[in-house]
Structures are given as structure tokens and as C-alpha cells.
């Protein structure tokens, strides 16, 4: 099969990450197909979150963290190069964290903040539209439309996480990184987020770190298994969960070590 440069949202090659002398990622090469959900799985400390955070340079703020290797956005833009500012990069690659972290502001302000500072709206009406559309896409609008000025921290955990997703998509990213977005949520809120992820993949590329094997199998088209900083196997989720090529993958997903 001929690989289309443009079919990958992010291409990475020979990625290694060190925290001081400690190696966290060891020579990982992986490409992320556009409009796919890719799950990164593996035991704690395997490097999956570190790797995820490399994709939008979240590790830059950690002094001891040294990132090496090639990271290309849409096959051309060097994520760590001079041609793109970190702020611009994060417009394109948004992130949702494990714990919902709304600003201590109103629901409206939480979503409007990004578009405002990135200058995505020139009038109040445009800003209103972006906020409404983002909340809609995050499946939250109907629940909050009558209380947009209420403080966001008053929402339930699941609603807060959907608000964070709305906040991430308000700046019109191409890629959304999610670091265990459902680990603090109950099964109903989790199901709602998973449904949302499935809808969002129509417009975005999603890369998600999850500890839940069943979540990875439910929501992602591709799964990557990390262990001790190495990428052990990456492939179609259906294949990984029925007949993985590597014994280590089989052992991990069947619960034989962890």
C-alpha cells in the first residue's frame, strides 16, 4: 500500500524521551491516521502519557525532559521546529486531561476564552456562535443553554469533562489528545464521553491514553501498546484484541501482567 503523506495527522519517527538520565520513551516510530481514534495502552510508567504529551509539546515545561526524534504535523510541519509557534501548535493540537479542569469562570467564558485569545472571533455574535457550536458538538449545549453564566465548577464531573472538550474544540483543532479523560467519571458519564469521541472523529483525529482495555476496544480504530518505553505493537484495534502479533501484547491485554 502506498502511504499518502496527507493521510497522517501526525507522523513520528525514532522518538526518544529522557527525564534526566532516565529513559521514558525508547525509539518509538508511529503514525496517526487522520480521523481515526487511536488508543495508547500499557501499564503505568510505560511511557504512553509522556508520548502523548510530546505531540503538542506539553513536556517543554519540564526542564529535565529531553525529547528527540521526528514529529511531523500533516506530514510536513516539524512540531519541534521554528516554523510553528507552540501557541499555534496547540491551536491545532488540543488536549483534554484526566481530571476535568474548567476555569473558575462561567460556562460561557470557559469556552469563549480560547477563541478570544486566539482571535478567532471578530464580533460578539461570532464568539457566541463558536461557543454554541462547540457546546453542541460536545453534546452539552442542551444541558447548559439556560445557565451559560453559571460558574462552570458547579457542573457535574461528566459535564465538566464535556465542557473541557467543548473548550478544546472551540479553537478548531485538527487533533485532540486525551489523557485518560474518563478515569474520574461514572459509567454513564463515561458512556456519554465515548459516544462523543465517536462523533468527534468525523472531524478530528483523536489520540487517547486509556487504562481501560474495554474502552480502547470500544472507541478506537487503532491501538498502540507501549511497554517500558517501547512501542510493542500498533495496529487495527480489532486485530490487537483478537490476534495480536506479539506475545507481550497478548499477555497484557489478557491480564497476564500489568
Amino acid at each position: 500500500m502506498v502511504e499518502q503523506v496527507n493521510s497522517f495527522a501526525i507522523k513520528t519517527k525514532n522518538v526518544s524521551v529522557h527525564y534526566g538520565n532516565k529513559m521514558a520513551i525508547d525509539d518509538v516510530t508511529i503514525n496517526f491516521t487522520k480521523n481515526d481514534v487511536t488508543s495508547l495502552i500499557g501499564p503505568s510508567g510505560c511511557g504512553k502519557s509522556t508520548f502523548l504529551r510530546c505531540l503538542n509539546r506539553m513536556n517543554d515545561v519540564i526542564d529535565s525532559c529531553k525529547v528527540q526524534g521526528e514529529f511531523l504535523l500533516n506530514g510536513v510541519t516539524d512540531i519541534y521546529g521554528d516554523s510553528i509557534q507552540v501557541e499555534t501548535l496547540r491551536e491545532k493540537i488540543g488536549m483534554v486531561f484526566q481530571k476535568p479542569n474548567p476555569f473558575p469562570k462561567s460556562i460561557f467564558e470557559n469556552v469563549a476564552y480560547g477563541p478570544k485569545i486566539h482571535g478567532l472571533a471578530s464580533t460578539q455574535s461570532e464568539l457566541n456562535d463558536i461557543v454554541m457550536e462547540s457546546l453542541n458538538r460536545a453534546g452539552l449545549y442542551e444541558e447548559v443553554k439556560d445557565r451559560m453564566d453559571d460558574i462552570a465548577t458547579g457542573l457535574s464531573g461528566g459535564q465538566q469533562q464535556r465542557l473541557c472538550i467543548a473548550r478544546a474544540i472551540a479553537i478548531r483543532p485538527e487533533i485532540i489528545l486525551m489523557d485518560e479523560p474518563c478515569s474520574a467519571l461514572d459509567p454513564i458519564a463515561t458512556a456519554r464521553i465515548e459516544e462523543l469521541i465517536n462523533e468527534l472523529k468525523e472531524n478530528y483525529t483523536i489520540i487517547i491514553v486509556t487504562h481501560s482495555m474495554s474502552q480502547a476496544s470500544r472507541i478506537s480504530q487503532r491501538t498502540a501498546f507501549f511497554h517500558l518505553g517501547k512501542l510493542i505493537e500498533h495496529g487495527d484495534t480489532s486485530k490487537i484484541f483478537t490476534k495480536p502479533d506479539k506475545e507481550q501484547t497478548n499477555d497484557y491485554i489478557t491480564g497476564r501482567f500489568g
Binding site: 490487537i240 490476534k243 495480536p244 489478557t254 491480564g255 497476564r256 500489568g258
Partner: protein, 227 residues
């Protein structure tokens, strides 16, 4: 050695599933052995025993199915565990069919006419013994996860088929030559031979499942070059 499961309860149930299958296969192997012997002995008590064992086989099949459902519902197996559960379901079905054929052939064997000569009986018995050996090999390959053994036993089916066709030819010739008093009497050995041949086919199916269970891949065995 295989790594142990972090979920001990799950591991215990997977072991139980294999134990249930071992138990079931032991009953079916015994059934086949007795049925094949009945070809020679025409012992009606033994024929009845295959009938009684068949009831045990049916219960064992239900046990395997119930436990498989329980494992799938409560533990949501994936990868090699998932393949094992599906293989267990399919193998138990094949075993159950083998049991049915054994029961039927034993029932027919006791009513075979005494006018048949030893050569014919010996030919049927030999086919039975070979089928029995194939079944034993293929089940062994399943429990020992021995891919090569599964392939070897798969290959035995060609020999079984050859033997079956030769026996069939012999019987048809006898019917043409009116060596059998009535056609009905002549068809009994044909049906016995057919049951044996079908047991061989079920064993072949098991061999294919064993290979899938071990490797996760379907193998086009016709193209493989093992002997």
C-alpha cells in the same frame, strides 16, 4: 511456561473450561473405542453403553457452553483467551457430533448380518481403529497446544477417506454380485463406514480449530507442505 493471569478467578474458570473439555473428550474417545469394538464383538450391552455415554456427552457439551457464556459475560476475554473460549465452543460441538456417530454405528453394528466375512469386518474395524487414532492425536494436539501434531492429524484424514472409499467400493461390488441377501442389509455396513468417515471429518474440523486457537490464523492446509 505461560504467564499467570492477574485475575485468579478468571484464570480458574479458563482452567475449568479446559478440564470440562478434557472430561468430555475422554467420554467421546471411550464411546468411539467401544463402538469400534462392537463392529467385531457385536456386543449389544456395549452398544447400549455408547447410548448411555451419549447422554453424558450431551450434558458435558451444555457445561462447556454455559461456562463459555459465563466467561464471556463476566470476564470479557480478548486475544488468546477469546480464541480459547470460541475454540472450546466449537470443539465441544464437534465432539458431540462424534458421540452421535459412535452411538449410531454401534447400534447398526450389532445388527450386521453374520453372513459377512471376516475380511469385511476386519476392513471396517481397521477404518475404525485409524479414526480412533486420529481423534486421539487431534485432541492431544488441542490440550498440548501442539500445532505440528494438529497438522499431522489433519493430514490423516486423507488416509481415512481413502480407506472409506475402498470399503465402499468393496460393499457396492458385493451388492452387485448379490452377496448380500437384501440391499437393506448391505447398506448397514455402508452407514457404519460413513459414520466412521464423518468422525474423521469432525476430527479434521477440530484440527483446524486447534491451529486457529494456537496461531490466531486460518491456515490453508491444502497448500501446506507438511507430511
Amino acid at each position: 511456561m505461560e504467564n499467570t493471569h492477574t485475575d485468579k478467578n478468571f484464570e480458574q474458570k479458563l482452567k475449568q473450561l479446559q478440564d470440562d473439555l478434557i472430561k468430555m473428550s475422554e467420554i467421546v474417545e471411550k464411546q468411539i473405542e467401544i463402538a469400534v469394538n462392537v463392529i467385531k464383538t457385536k456386543d449389544s450391552q456395549d452398544a447400549q453403553l455408547t447410548q448411555n455415554l451419549d447422554e453424558q456427552v450431551d450434558v458435558a457439551e451444555r457445561d462447556v457452553r454455559d461456562l463459555s457464556f459465563e466467561i464471556m459475560t463476566l470476564h470479557r476475554p480478548v486475544a488468546s483467551d477469546l480464541r480459547l473460549v470460541f475454540t472450546a465452543l466449537k470443539v465441544s460441538k464437534e465432539l458431540e457430533r462424534m458421540g452421535d456417530h459412535s452411538r449410531n454405528l454401534a447400534k447398526r453394528a450389532i445388527s450386521i448380518s453374520s453372513s459377512f466375512d471376516d475380511e469385511l469386518i476386519e476392513q471396517m474395524y481397521s477404518l475404525g481403529r485409524n479414526v480412533q487414532s486420529m481423534v486421539n492425536q487431534v485432541l492431544d494436539s488441542f490440550f498440548k497446544k501442539d500445532e505440528l501434531k494438529a497438522k499431522t492429524s489433519w493430514n490423516q484424514d486423507a488416509e481415512i477417506d481413502k480407506e472409506y472409499k475402498s470399503l465402499l467400493k468393496n460393499l457396492i461390488e458385493r451388492m452387485h454380485n448379490k452377496e448380500t441377501s437384501v440391499v437393506d442389509e448391505g447398506t448397514k455396513p455402508i452407514l457404519i463406514a460413513k459414520s466412521l468417515e464423518r468422525i474423521g471429518d469432525h476430527a479434521t474440523n477440530i484440527a483446524e480449530e486447534v491451529i486457529f486457537n494456537i496461531t490466531g490464523h486460518y491456515i490453508d492446509l491444502k497448500k501446506s507442505d507438511f507430511e
